[in-house]
Every structure is written in structure tokens, then in C-alpha cells.
């Protein structure tokens, strides 16, 4: 596929058919610590992408997994609060926070123990437990998995913009969990259980791709200030990467995160599925980086057991 510079790039589907697509813009911001400067950093980063949020209802979806305030398992609550303030300052009508943890039933207790109540004033009033929300039955628009239907929470479906505020972590089944895998938290455990095991039987990577197609109004912010390496997404160890990655195209954001982590995005099955036939938005040359270059912030995240083949540059 030949790629040319310009606002609109052209590619071939392999059948002699030209495919035209917009290059994606992804911000990479160096953030060494969780401190008060994050508020300005996140506001400027979101504004760079000029998402149309004025008067809209925004839903922030962090990655909340465990009752741990100081580990690297959850999206840091400071990042979530900074995002909340950023979208408010950009004129959003409402900004809410929602999550449906996959293993622990007591979501508000988890949020409290993980530091969200302390960090975010009025957290309980701003928060919806997606595991117990009203649900609607949806048929995937582009079905990759064996799920012919999926029940999804109204709060997520009705948001004008779903903002995945994810954590940069390795994942023992999918290789990496970033903004797209974070959408598993929108699948209600009240219907599917703790864990949401039906998604595993239907194909984890395929379900990630299905969910990506079901939330077309989606923005991604990935907390890689301290990520997780090794046997993620739960048993791994902290990896200070000192970056925040954001953009309107979750595929491009996650592909960029993979490169920062030393993972080949073409080897992440859900990214290949969600990026279409020519995987245009996986190609580094098709992603306009804003801020830092990948090379300046790239690290080598230790891979999960049996996932050594995902390493970037490895044949």
C-alpha cells in the first residue's frame, strides 16, 4: 500500500480498489508524575483534538479493577479528575464517570478504596455502576465475535462521547490492554457475571473489536504515567513510562501505546480486526504524532508469560 503525505491518504484494499482515509492524530505527552500539573496537561491535550463537546454529555470510563489505592492496576483517579475538569472547561453539558469492574461486585467500595472518593468531589453522585445500569439489547454492527447480541448499559449507549480513560498495561490474554480493551468494562456483569466470561467464550479479541464498533463516538486517553508490565492486567508490576497518550481514533492511540511499550501493534489481534482490511490506522506513517515522538518515550515493557512473540521488531 502506497502512502502519500496530505490530509487524505490513499491505499489499496488488495483488490485494486482505492481506499481513502484521514490520517489519525495522536498526542504523546511526557508526564513524569501524578501531580497538579496534570490538570493543565490533560486540558491542553484534549483541546488539541478539538472534540465537539460543547453542550454534549460526556462519559468518562476509567479502568477500575481492584481495591488498591497505590498500585498500578487502576487508572489513577487524578487522571480521571483532570479529564473531568478538562471536558467541563471545554463546555460539556454534563461529565459523568462510569465503570463496570469485571471481578469485584462492590463497585463503589472498590472506587472508595482505590482513591476515587477522595480525589473527585461528589464522586458518588457523578458515578454510574455500569454493571447494574439499565440495559438494551444490541446487535453488533460489524460482528467479529460469536455474540449475535450483546446487552449494553444505557448510560454508555446514550453518551454523546464515550471517553475511555484507560491504563497502559500488558495483558496475559490479549497482549496489551489499552483504550479499546477497556471497553469490556461497559459490558454489564449484572447480566454476564463476574467475570464477564461469556466474552471469553465468544473470543476476547473479537469482542473488543465488536465493542469498538458499537461505540463510534469514542475518545481515548491512556494513563501510562505508571503503567503495568509482566503478567498484566492484574498480577503485573509497575512500569513508570511517564506518558499520557490521547486521541480521537482509539485504534491509532492503542497502536501508538503498543509501540511505546515495545509491542508490535500488528500482532495484537483486536487491533488488526478493528483496523479494517488494510490496517491503515495501525501504520506508524499514517499516524500524525503530536508532542513527543514515539522514539523519545519508547520503553520495553516486560511481556506476559508466553507472549514473547509480540515484541516489536521480532519476526
Amino acid at each position: 500500500m502506497a502512502v502519500t503525505a496530505g490530509a487524505v491518504l490513499a491505499g489499496s484494499s488488495g483488490c485494486g480498489e482505492d481506499i481513502r482515509f484521514q490520517p489519525s492524530r495522536v498526542s504523546i505527552v511526557r508526564v513524569p508524575n501524578y501531580d497538579q500539573t496534570l490538570y493543565d496537561t490533560v486540558r491542553r491535550t484534549v483541546a488539541e483534538h478539538a472534540p465537539d463537546v460543547r453542550g454534549r454529555n460526556i462519559l468518562l470510563k476509567p479502568n477500575m479493577v481492584e481495591f488498591e489505592p497505590h498500585s498500578c492496576i487502576n487508572t489513577n483517579p487524578l487522571v480521571v479528575h483532570a479529564a473531568l475538569e478538562a471536558f467541563r472547561s471545554l463546555g460539556a453539558a454534563t461529565v459523568r464517570i462510569a465503570e463496570g469492574p469485571g471481578h469485584r461486585r462492590n463497585t463503589l467500595d472498590l472506587a472508595d478504596a482505590a482513591g476515587y472518593f477522595n480525589m473527585i468531589p461528589g464522586f458518588e453522585d457523578l458515578f454510574t455502576d455500569l454493571n447494574l445500569d439499565e440495559v438494551s439489547r444490541i446487535r453488533p454492527t460489524r460482528q467479529f465475535s460469536r455474540l449475535e447480541k450483546v446487552y449494553l448499559p444505557q448510560t454508555a449507549l446514550s453518551a454523546d462521547l464515550l471517553v475511555s480513560v484507560a491504563k497502559m498495561k500488558t495483558h496475559h490474554w490479549t497482549g496489551a490492554t489499552l483504550s479499546m480493551k477497556n471497553l469490556f468494562g461497559t459490558v454489564p456483569s449484572g447480566v454476564y457475571g463476574w467475570p464477564k466470561n461469556m466474552l471469553h467464550w465468544a473470543g476476547i479479541d473479537e469482542c473488543v473489536a465488536d465493542l469498538h464498533s458499537l461505540y463510534p463516538r469514542h475518545f481515548a486517553i491512556v494513563d501510562g504515567i505508571v503503567g503495568m508490565e509482566g503478567n498484566g492486567p492484574i498480577e503485573g508490576v509497575p512500569k513508570p513510562a511517564g506518558v499520557l497518550v490521547a486521541g480521537s481514533d482509539p485504534v491509532a492511540v492503542d497502536a501508538t501505546c503498543c509501540r511505546i511499550m515495545g509491542i508490535d501493534p500488528y500482532k495484537i489481534a483486536y487491533l488488526r480486526l478493528a483496523s479494517g482490511e488494510v490496517h491503515a490506522h495501525l501504520a506508524e506513517e499514517n499516524i500524525t504524532q503530536i508532542g513527543q515522538n514515539i522514539a523519545d518515550v519508547a520503553l520495553t515493557f516486560e511481556l506476559p508469560p508466553y507472549r514473547a512473540g509480540l515484541r516489536l521488531g521480532k519476526a
Binding site: R104, L110, R137, P195, E235
Partner: protein, 285 residues
Amino acid sequence: MSIELLVSKQNPDGGWPYLRGRSWTEPTAYAVLALLSAGQNEAVRKGLDWIRSAQRPDGGWPPQLSVDESSWVTSVVSLLPPDCLGEAAHARAIQWILSTSGKESSVLYQVRWWLLGTPRNPDSEFAGWPWLPGSAAWVGPTSLAILALQKERRRKDTPTIQERIGQGQSFLLRRMCAEGGWNHGSARALGYESRPYPETTGMGLAALRGASSPKLGKALEVAKGFLTECRSADAINWLQLGLMAHHQLPEGYCPPAQVAYRTVPETSLLMLVNAIGNGRDLIWG
């Protein structure tokens, strides 16, 4: 939350939400059980009407009415006394539980593994229960199904019920974490040991009432440790039930004052735990 507050959370359709909004089966079943234990009548009648009307043709219950599949909540409903729910409805619910098991223990799945030459996973040796049919068995739904069948066994003991309780309890013992106690049901993954959770440790112990195993001692110690440090209402409820099941709840135990009982199941289970202490047992009795 007092009885009055629990009653005030009832929806006009007779069911209960988890927090607010549409009625769900699990909070409705727990609320009815709790109000039965408190001798409340009118709210119970409306709740039972909602539950009866929600039963599916296969005998099970969906998590909420907009879901068209029966699920694990059938076990919670089956804790209701048959003379309240209706003998026929209850019998069909028990049949649904008996006919449901984790997909990994099905004959079809075992044959598939054998044909593929895959070594048998020892974790799938015993049949537990899934959250939804068509997926694997886990600690939460297995514990609830065992509680429902143990209660039924006191009325009508059959070899099938005994067999499934035995299988389920063996499943729980197999899935216990190395340090004792349970998480959602994955004691180890890719060679790494996993940590237990308070709530599922309580559930597992409650379902192992009457069972004997040298492994139980470790689980009870873990549960006692969790009880002193845990601040989650759901977890504290289940830890109390789990320790009560083995006569190990510290005498005079009282949950910390700062614990927030936010959801209808949390409040209802607290009432049920307190009722057991007052001689009115609707979980095992």
C-alpha cells in the same frame, strides 16, 4: 437501611432495583427474603407477584425483564420458601439449577478436548455453575446454587441433589486459592498464584457448610482476617454468613460503623444475617 426504607425502595411494579431505576431479579429476591424474615406482608406479596411473573418457560429467571435468558439469579430466587413462591414455580427453578453446569465440564466439551489431544484441565473435573449457561463455572454462582440445593435437600433429598451439591463443593475446594479463601474462581493463571477476595471467600464458606476438608481451616483463617480489615458491606455480609456456617463468627461481632450499605442486596443480606442471629434463618433454614 430500616425495613421501612427497604419497603420505600420497592418499585411500583413490585420489584426492587439495585440502587434506583428498573427492577432486577436479584435485589427483588433478597428484599423479599429479608422482609419475610422481618414479618412484613404487603411488600412481600407484591414482590412475590413480580418474581412469579418474571419466571421464564425454562424454569429459570433472567437478571432483569429485558434480558431473554435465564441465569444465576435463579439460585437466589430458589432460596425463597416454596410455599411463598409457589410449589410448582419452585420445583421448576430447582430443575433449572440441576440441569445447568459450567460449559467446561460438559460431555461435549470434554470430548472436544480429548479429540484435540489437550490434557484435561484439573480445574474442570468437578461441575460447578456458570453466571449464564454457555460459559464456565465460577465461585459466585456455584456457591449460590449449592445454598439453594442445600435448602431444597432439607425438604426433598434426592440422589441427584446430593450428587450436584457434592460436585459443587468439590469444585469450590479445587478452586481455593493457595493461601486459603477464594477469588472469582481462578486460583492461578499462567503459573501465577492469585489472591482471594473477601466476598467470594464468605460465599464459598457459606456453601461449604457441613463439608469437611483439611483445606477449610486455611479458608476460615483468611475469612477472619478479612473480617477485621474489610469495609465493604457485601463482603462483610458474606464473611459473616461464611463464618456462621462453620460456627466461627467471633462472638459479639458487629460490623464497623462506617460501612456503607448502599444497595438493596447489601441491606437485605444484612437483615438476613441479623435474623439468623435472632433465630430466624431464611438462608439455610
